[in-house]
Symmetry: D2
Subunit: 363 residues, 4 copies
Amino acid sequence: MSSVFGTLFKVSTFGESHCPAVGAIVDGCPSGLALSEADIQPQLDRRRPGQSGLSTPRNEQDLVTILSGVENGVTLGTPIALMVHNRDQRPGDYQEMLAFPRPSHADYTYQVKYGRRASSGGGRASARETIGRVAAGAIAEKFLAQSCGVEIVAWVDSVGLIPGGEVDLDSISRSQVDASLVRCPDPVAAKAMEELIALVRDNSDSVGGVVRCVCRNIPAGLGEPVFDKLEALLAHAMLSLPATKGFEIGSGFAGSSMLGSVHNDPFIQKGGRLGTLTNNSGGVQGGISNGEQIHFRVAFKPPATIGVSQRTAGFDGQEGILEAKGRHDPCVVPRAVPIVESMAALVIMDLLLRQEYRQRGRG
Amino acid sequence: MSSVFGTLFKVSTFGESHCPAVGAIVDGCPSGLALSEADIQPQLDRRRPGQSGLSTPRNEQDLVTILSGVENGVTLGTPIALMVHNRDQRPGDYQEMLAFPRPSHADYTYQVKYGRRASSGGGRASARETIGRVAAGAIAEKFLAQSCGVEIVAWVDSVGLIPGGEVDLDSISRSQVDASLVRCPDPVAAKAMEELIALVRDNSDSVGGVVRCVCRNIPAGLGEPVFDKLEALLAHAMLSLPATKGFEIGSGFAGSSMLGSVHNDPFIQKGGRLGTLTNNSGGVQGGISNGEQIHFRVAFKPPATIGVSQRTAGFDGQEGILEAKGRHDPCVVPRAVPIVESMAALVIMDLLLRQEYRQRGRG
Amino acid sequence: MSSVFGTLFKVSTFGESHCPAVGAIVDGCPSGLALSEADIQPQLDRRRPGQSGLSTPRNEQDLVTILSGVENGVTLGTPIALMVHNRDQRPGDYQEMLAFPRPSHADYTYQVKYGRRASSGGGRASARETIGRVAAGAIAEKFLAQSCGVEIVAWVDSVGLIPGGEVDLDSISRSQVDASLVRCPDPVAAKAMEELIALVRDNSDSVGGVVRCVCRNIPAGLGEPVFDKLEALLAHAMLSLPATKGFEIGSGFAGSSMLGSVHNDPFIQKGGRLGTLTNNSGGVQGGISNGEQIHFRVAFKPPATIGVSQRTAGFDGQEGILEAKGRHDPCVVPRAVPIVESMAALVIMDLLLRQEYRQRGRG
Amino acid sequence: MSSVFGTLFKVSTFGESHCPAVGAIVDGCPSGLALSEADIQPQLDRRRPGQSGLSTPRNEQDLVTILSGVENGVTLGTPIALMVHNRDQRPGDYQEMLAFPRPSHADYTYQVKYGRRASSGGGRASARETIGRVAAGAIAEKFLAQSCGVEIVAWVDSVGLIPGGEVDLDSISRSQVDASLVRCPDPVAAKAMEELIALVRDNSDSVGGVVRCVCRNIPAGLGEPVFDKLEALLAHAMLSLPATKGFEIGSGFAGSSMLGSVHNDPFIQKGGRLGTLTNNSGGVQGGISNGEQIHFRVAFKPPATIGVSQRTAGFDGQEGILEAKGRHDPCVVPRAVPIVESMAALVIMDLLLRQEYRQRGRG
């Protein structure tokens, strides 16, 4: 297990799908930040299951409690412990998985790695693991917003083969994103996506999608070459999320087919600073933020747990038919939106703190 | 700076384009491994510039010396220091960059971050930074090959808009890859790529490409959820390379448009173990290797340094015309092949050592 | 803040003296260990305040709850979250500290470092911070006992100027230690210590002491030169405890006055292994355990919070008289005994896991 | 092996007694620091063997070369690689150790841990390992001196049973320390120490000693509770040095016998800040520097390698007589002085950088 993330803003998460609680400890949050549960709950609400018929019927309120690190509504600079109780546990749903590892789920690999696995649900491979990340990310977001005006907004860029349409990176807001259940700001695309997800759900199947994210007002200078480049930590963060299969920043894979003379972002004067005319770089050059918007995309596969019968081998090697009964999302990307935002916030927060110390070196 | 990579197999790299030497320290390599410079030099030779007219005319022999950690041809278990001298330095080539930050290069961001930058060449953002990675990766590769039979092979999957064709993941070998200058195993595609790169070079331009990589004989059980999942560390490693813009594993972005019933990899009996019929997972489930081939793709943008005139702002904000004279590669992907292999080896090696300790827990 | 300890067995602690809860997350505990609250509670009971008239009147039951990482009484290999509620909070006791930083306490330095401090009690500098350490250490101890037969026993070696007498390192047990309230196995010394502590308490003063600890059945080979030598991590662990001022291992400071011909521990055959005739080394040579007993001593200063009037400057620089009213221990060493044991267990556990991976390197 | 030290100012060392070179990489040094070999060489000269008849006859010039990270005499902010060649190698001196592990040396434990050991000399347990530490420490010292006026001075506080006398912590300087070969500022004590060491040397024996160190002008606020308290990192750093057996800060072990009313350091107004009247705390309260002098002591055992015949068991378990022929110091403390200073500088430098980031949190 490696459940600790970050160098100076260090997040330790805990909890699996059917234990008493899930949560996180945030170590390294600066003191003096006004903070209460009300700053954290909204992103947890956007993440929680049961928000609509498009997501898992597992119904959790996911109310967060701050256990430490805050006094009189202000952070002390000490570790902030965050806890959310697991309430809607139904271990009985998972009997069939004793014999069959779910195809493309983590049942088999956890068994191999640990010599055992949580007997009910996905254990630590469950989406509930991300609660601690989102709670910690909400703290990072508040600090970033207050100290630098950082804005982080993600949305659904595609579901299955349905593209999400153009989005204005300068203005897209969370309220625009949340206008549709599927969290795609284009209303036509959103409607088509919702219909696809409903169809897939009714077929007891699942479907993948892509989440796109933009980070605005990121100070230039963040990122620690050579191994902790900004894009490297973002890629790390995103590929650590359940069900992710790909990450691209700026021009991404499309950029690999371009000429340098087209791809290069010329510098121009922007207010008091150098900016770039285009942004194929995605806000990062040489692994360091350049003051432009950071924008990236994350590919999510279709959820592995499906109701459709699957012919597959059991732990004993004998083939048979698996019909999974566990509650699951037919498509994870609408709920993945706040999770992607949270992980982006954790990366940027850590790199902001890691850059701060260089000020003395300048003097 | 963050120039240390890994938890138990820990690599610290050093060196920029025009200092006396570049290299690395490998801390945590197990004792008892037969090792000499001859084990490391071949991958450095595949990485070095000047291998053909398709790469930069900078000509370096890049001979490696082992400074410590090996006695009588066998590793002691102590840190292995590796050094390669920089010989072909031409600081004079970089005068024009004093006034203009190269578009999409790291000149501007290094200046912002550090308050100064290497006055000649790319400094730590130069491709020479990767020498330490490749030298360290060669040690990891040898250990992995001897202890588990691991095979890691990368190749050029596309250059610009030219696709590289199908490759048999079971059998592709480095000698097949090296049969063409461009390191694409499909001879027809390779010829087209070489012609494109030559054309781009003659136009003083550059072009991007994609490298694909397969890792065979990886033991099941490697990967440390939730933050150090195998794919998360691979993504981190690859996006820490210069000029990378994207990473995908298994089905990747294409997987995001699929149904779960199609995407899932059913389990089947394979010899004495459970395997999967298909491999959309790319050898990883729940962040842990499942014993199947790990395969992934990495997108490289076109090199930022081009000879074509570029209209761009200088450090003083005044627009002008930059004509870069530094030697550069018109396309990095042929030389990126051994670098991608090396980073994959570093990730797998570290995760192998991190998994080992669990054996006692089983007793 | 740096509230994470360990490389593979990684402990994150949280909580201050007057927040809702204190505790820890243990990440990296091997799977398959039988574990329940009953394995952890006894050491917390030995640590808790109010055990006798010799310790602080703050009365806490300190009941631990396991929130995650254990299913059906066995560890899953996932993070184990541990929580203890703070119940007996009396913020009102600390009003006088708003104006005066307590001499030799952390009020002033926390204020300087964080720009604020917990307004009540010692915050993170409170002894309650050690609860998470003790809970985590109890898990490490159980694993070490089961896998290697490790025994860790600490006791009070002196209080003020009263020495604790000779103790047989081969046989000393926790029940012998707990036979006296002051946790000194020598009954005569224990009685004198108790009388001294009672006298000091009645005078509203405090007194220091020394804790000694022996670790038996430690496998040879633990310790990671050069920076994570066994004694270096033990010293780090012990000096991270509140109120500690010194650490020595084996011959310690006395060894500095000896000749090499006297100090050296000759090797002898012991059963099937090499052992040493004497043990001035304290079980460690070159930073690596040699299979002999590890024994060390830790110096604790007198608690800084005393009821005696103190002439001292306030935060405003004006001198005045401070009469602290907070509940405190007149002497911490009796309660420090399980804390020292726990930190020793955390160090040894982490080094055991870090040594395990070398087995593959041998093949 | 764990040869990396520090969080933001990260030092990786390499090299054993008889390989081509020893040295270090310093990652995280701020840019803009004027730096050349001349800043580093003096401390290496103070550390090197052969300075007088009191130390080992091994004669090394130990000239350092900066390989990277510095351009035009100023640091770039990139990793600084430092190398010192090993020249005076005499592997033949160590034949007798093939059969016998030296008592209280690391031969046996390295063999157990790694399954092999350097066949000649102490390998990584040799004092030559400390060269990389001293070179890195010299860089930290220069930065600390320039940015905060930090002064770090160590000296020999005792050799065998000879105490070093009183030293004025406010004024003691390196030139005063270096006035005697033995590096004890008290001339009478120094003479006695030199005679003792000469006698011990002539008897082919060795003797231990204590080094004391003071750090002046340390800003208040350094130290990262709870695990990376300033004194915890100092203890870690010092106990990671070869031959150390103990560490104490401020009142140390003597403080354990005092009453709180005597031990507490009352606050007083000092210029524009709060200071303390006494300094039993050793400049640290609650793990954080308080702006007073940091002072501590480190106990060194007598060197394990002695010429005196020793009856001891060989690797095969058979007892015999070992007469070691290797060159060694009869007493390490004079040469340990710059090493202790260097490790203190590394700890303070890292904590200074770790504290810097909190400035933004205050805004």
